[in-house]
């Protein structure tokens, strides 16, 4: 059974692509055959984070249009077994994403016996985002601890409850979980950011994880290696925990309290 997961947020720049890359890589590291798809047509980004931008030949739209078959479009990750990337196109526009086309790609991935398909949604509530979510079995809503991001996530949760195929078929809401990213306990303590509890209370959904604000994420994207590969970093560990919870393991939440100041405090988490 292939599980299709949409990583979405509403608001832009909150960490969807970072999360999609980490989640897909983390699942593959655990032996689950996984594909991560970039739905951000026109702004492709995922291939950079995954470090495969120099191996892109075809993209999602090519596969949808039949210019290439699925096997040609998929890029096999060089570091982790069982991991595939389907990049977005930089040149086409969003209208190229048809529902039938996306369904065809997902069915192809089912035939390849993918265990997970992670759909990295673009920001907003336009076509690209709706297409990324439409076929999902499950959603991860990425949110930053600030009011506008929480508001947009709330909106997306509402849209998810009516705009997925499952909802249209009357099968009800797809399960949605919250991933709070760029969390800075210091700033929460100073009252500059919402706390985990605040966000959870407002959104009323299960918490998949809290990812701290971390230099490691920037380093990771600069070097084209998903941050979850850096298990010395707080963000890497937090993502590893989130992956474990995602597949049903129980893990306590970490990095929720302000760490000792300075480099070592950061390195060893809170």
């Amino acid at each position: 059974m292939t599980k299709i997961v949409v990583v979405t947020s509403g608001k832009g720049g909150v960490g969807k692509t970072t999360t999609s890359a980490a989640l897909a890589t983390g699942l593959a590291m655990r032996g689950h055959k996984t594909t991560v798809i970039d739905f951000d047509v026109g702004l492709r980004n995922l291939d950079l984070i995954m470090g495969c931008e120099r191996r892109v030949v075809y993209d999602l739209v090519n596969v949808i249009n039949g210019d290439a078959n699925l096997k040609q479009g998929l890029i096999k990750d060089k570091r982790v077994e069982n991991l595939f990337i389907l990049p977005a196109s930089q040149t086409r526009d969003k209208d190229a994403l048809s529902q039938e086309g996306v369904e065809k790609v997902l069915n192809g991935l089912r035939d390849m016996e993918m265990e997970y398909v992670i759909c990295d949604s673009p920001a907003g509530i336009e076509k690209g985002a709706l297409m990324a979510a439409y076929f999902a079995d499950e959603a991860i809503v990425v949110t930053n601890p600030e009011v506008s991001s929480v508001r947009d996530s709330d909106r997306i949760l509402g849209i998810l409850s009516s705009k997925t195929r499952k909802a249209e078929l009357g099968e009800g809401d797809i399960p949605a979980r919250l991933l709070l990213t760029r969390y800075s306990p210091e700033r929460v303590e100073r009252g500059e950011m919402l706390s985990v509890e605040d966000v959870q209370e407002i959104l009323a959904v299960d918490l998949l994880g809290v990812i701290p604000e971390s230099q490691a994420v920037l380093n990771a994207s600069n070097s084209g290696a998903p941050v979850i590969l850096d298990l010395e970093s707080d963000a890497g560990l937090a993502y590893a925990d989130a992956v474990a919870r995602f597949i049903g393991e129980e893990r306590p939440h970490r990095f929720l309290t302000a760490a000792k100041k300075g480099l070592f405090g950061r390195l060893f988490g809170g």
């Binding site: 909106r155 509402g158 009516s162």
Partner: protein, 243 residues
């Protein structure tokens, strides 16, 4: 740049208080439309005639301009007070103007229309006997951008987010936090009340008399509260209090 700020204002914005009914047209066939709407009007749905109505077309991609025009004419002929056409990506922006209607963005209301709690849809299953006929029970959180409309009472068992809107012709009960808007008695029922477990609303209103967040009495913020009308003013009381 050329306008002086000191200039005396010749207008003033008075809040966003449009109360309109959305008429969701699943079918544009004017004959069945005529027959069904006039049937509804006979069944004492007189309110259809005074409430402003926004037309929302279910399948805009299939609707021809001629069909739209006849449907709108039919509705007007029956006395329905059409004010606007719901905007839709598949509908040309000119269409509303051609129909002599305003154009309104309903994207969110539409989401809810489709996800509307099963209470009303499940026509195959027997209706739950417990709830009174027009009581709508919502068990899921009502999210930003969503709108729920109840013909009678509205009972919400989950949080109502900022940016969400509850509308009821009768009372509204919220057994959780109300952060969005709650408008009870929207058809003018001044006896309607709002009950809520935790008041943090953007706006509350009964029969059109409203209070915005800023004007909520501090003593009742984040408390269990009931709201009713006392003459023209909203009145607040402890939920567990006297009455």
């Amino acid at each position: 740049m050329t306008v002086s700020i000191e200039e005396k204002a010749s207008f003033e914005f008075k809040g966003r208080m449009l109360m309109a009914t959305v008429l969701y047209l699943k079918d544009l066939d004017s004959r069945s439309l005529h027959q069904q709407i006039s049937q509804r009007l006979e069944d004492a749905a007189q309110w259809l005639l005074d409430a402003p109505v926004v037309v929302d077309v279910a399948h805009p991609e299939e609707a021809s301009q001629v069909e739209l025009l006849t449907a709108v004419d039919t509705l007007r002929g029956l006395g329905v007070n059409l004010v606007a056409l719901a905007r839709h990506p598949e509908l040309d922006d000119q269409v509303a103007a051609m129909l002599g209607l305003g154009s309104i963005n309903l994207a969110n209301g539409r989401d809810v229309a489709r996800s509307e709690p099963p209470a009303r849809t499940g026509n195959s299953k027997a209706a739950p006997a417990a709830a009174a006929e027009d009581t709508l029970v919502v068990e899921q959180p009502v999210r930003s951008g969503q709108q729920v409309y109840a013909r009678g009472d509205l009972i919400v068992l989950a949080p109502v987010s900022t940016g969400a809107e509850l509308l009821a012709e009768g009372n509204i009960h919220i057994y959780s936090t109300l952060r969005g808007r709650a408008l009870a008695g929207v058809r003018g029922n001044e006896a309607a009340r709002i009950f809520c477990q935790d008041l943090d609303a953007e706006l509350v209103s009964i029969a059109g008399h409203y209070r915005v967040a800023e004007d909520l009495p501090d003593a009742y913020r984040r408390k269990p509260v009931q709201m009713s009308l006392d003459g023209d003013a909203m009145s607040f009381a402890d939920l567990m209090g006297k009455s």
